[in-house]
Every structure is written in structure tokens, then in C-alpha cells.
């Protein structure tokens, strides 16, 4: 989707609930997310990369939807219109020693 990022989205104005934790794993607040959006981080992917919101141990399984609704509201678009983040393996955390034990040798 074409997006001219020069457009000013209004600038950051503090809100009473800016202190709310949104990403429970990385302890990222609503205010940090809103500020980043006003700083030009305009996609869910950029917010993940810039703030690590949704990049913690649970990989955004709890906050993904919440971050999305904050971004949608700040940009004034419906949440479903936002480009979703890309899925990454492993979908559950796996210890390196377990991952290392995958030898699958065919004897055919």
C-alpha cells in the first residue's frame, strides 16, 4: 500500500493511560508505542523492530492484537487494514540442545 510518510499524524500528545503496559514480555507501554508511531514508525513490523513490542518470549501472542488496535487508532484506519506481521518459526520457544537433536537420517 502506497504510503507517503511525510504526512504528519498530528504529533505526540500525552494521554492519561500512556503508562499502561501493552507488551507484557518486554514491558512496553502504550505511550512508548504511541510516541513511536508519531515518530514515523507506521507499520506493525516497524513497531516490533523499533520497540521490541511483541518480540519477547511469547512472540507477540498476547499483545499483537493490542498493538494493532493502538496503531489503527493513531492512523485512523480499521485494524484489519493494517499489514499483519510475518509468522516466524519456532512458534514455541525451543532450547538449543533440543533443536540440535533433530537428526533425521533415512536408511533407504
Amino acid at each position: 500500500m502506497l504510503q507517503d510518510r511525510t504526512k504528519n499524524t498530528g504529533g505526540f500528545s500525552p494521554a492519561p493511560d500512556d503508562g499502561l503496559i501493552i507488551c507484557r514480555c518486554e514491558e512496553i507501554t502504550k505511550g512508548e508505542i504511541r510516541r513511536a508511531i508519531q515518530d514515523g514508525l507506521l507499520t506493525l513490523t516497524e513497531l516490533r523492530r523499533f520497540l521490541r513490542a511483541g518480540m519477547g518470549l511469547c512472540q507477540g501472542q498476547t499483545c499483537g492484537r493490542l498493538v494493532k488496535s493502538i496503531l489503527a487508532r493513531e492512523l485512523g484506519v480499521p485494524p484489519a487494514a493494517l499489514e499483519p506481521v510475518v509468522s516466524r518459526a519456532p512458534v514455541r520457544p525451543v532450547e538449543m540442545q533440543v533443536l540440535a537433536r533433530d537428526q533425521e537420517i533415512d536408511h533407504d
Binding site: R24, E27, G56, C58, Q61, T62, R92
Partner: protein
């Protein structure tokens, strides 16, 4: 906190009663049930304190997804206690930040 008799389910199949330690204190639970359930039944509700804000966390999703209930189990941090089966003599500790207490302070 345990339900002894349930109007629909009746009783609950339980493993053998076992002892384990929580921050050094001796507690009991049933082998095979999630560590988090044994803690809950014993009245323990704080599993860890977070790294940035040092705020308490406990069970949240109870199915291994949210990772809020992680603790140090047998010396390893970030263990999801809601899906880790309890075993006799397990050493379960409150997690501070990413590890033991000294590391966070």
C-alpha cells in the same frame, strides 16, 4: 483451592503426592500436574518479578502461550510452569528479571 468433588466431573485423576521446594520452602503437590497448579493450590501466586519494572507476575493464560508464569525450575530460568509437570523434589524458585535474585538487583 483444590476442588474435592465437582458436580459434573466428580473427582479428578491425580498423580502420586510428592514434595517439592518453592524458594527453599517444602510444599506438596501431585506428580504430573503442572507446577503452576501445585503452587496455586499451595497459595503461591507470584511467579516472578519483571526485569524493567520489577512488577509481580503469575499465571495468566495457563496453557503455555503467554510465558508470564515462568520461574526458575531446577536451576533453569524462563520455564513455563503452567505446562511443566511437577516431579518429586523439584526446585522451584521465583524469577527476578531473567534469572535469580542477585542478577536483577
Amino acid at each position: 483451592m483444590r476442588i474435592n468433588e465437582h458436580p459434573v466431573l466428580g473427582g479428578y485423576p491425580k498423580g502420586e503426592a510428592v514434595a517439592f521446594t518453592f524458594d527453599g520452602a517444602r510444599l506438596s503437590g501431585y506428580a504430573g500436574e503442572p507446577v503452576a497448579m501445585a503452587l496455586k493450590a499451595a497459595g503461591v501466586f507470584i511467579h516472578r518479578y519483571t526485569r524493567k519494572n520489577h512488577s509481580p507476575r503469575g499465571i495468566f493464560c495457563a496453557i503455555g502461550r503467554c510465558t508470564d508464569c515462568v520461574m526458575i525450575v531446577n536451576g533453569r530460568p524462563n520455564v513455563r510452569t503452567c505446562i511443566t509437570p511437577l516431579a518429586a523434589d523439584m526446585d522451584v524458585r521465583t524469577q527476578y528479571g531473567m534469572g535469580a535474585k542477585h542478577a536483577a538487583l
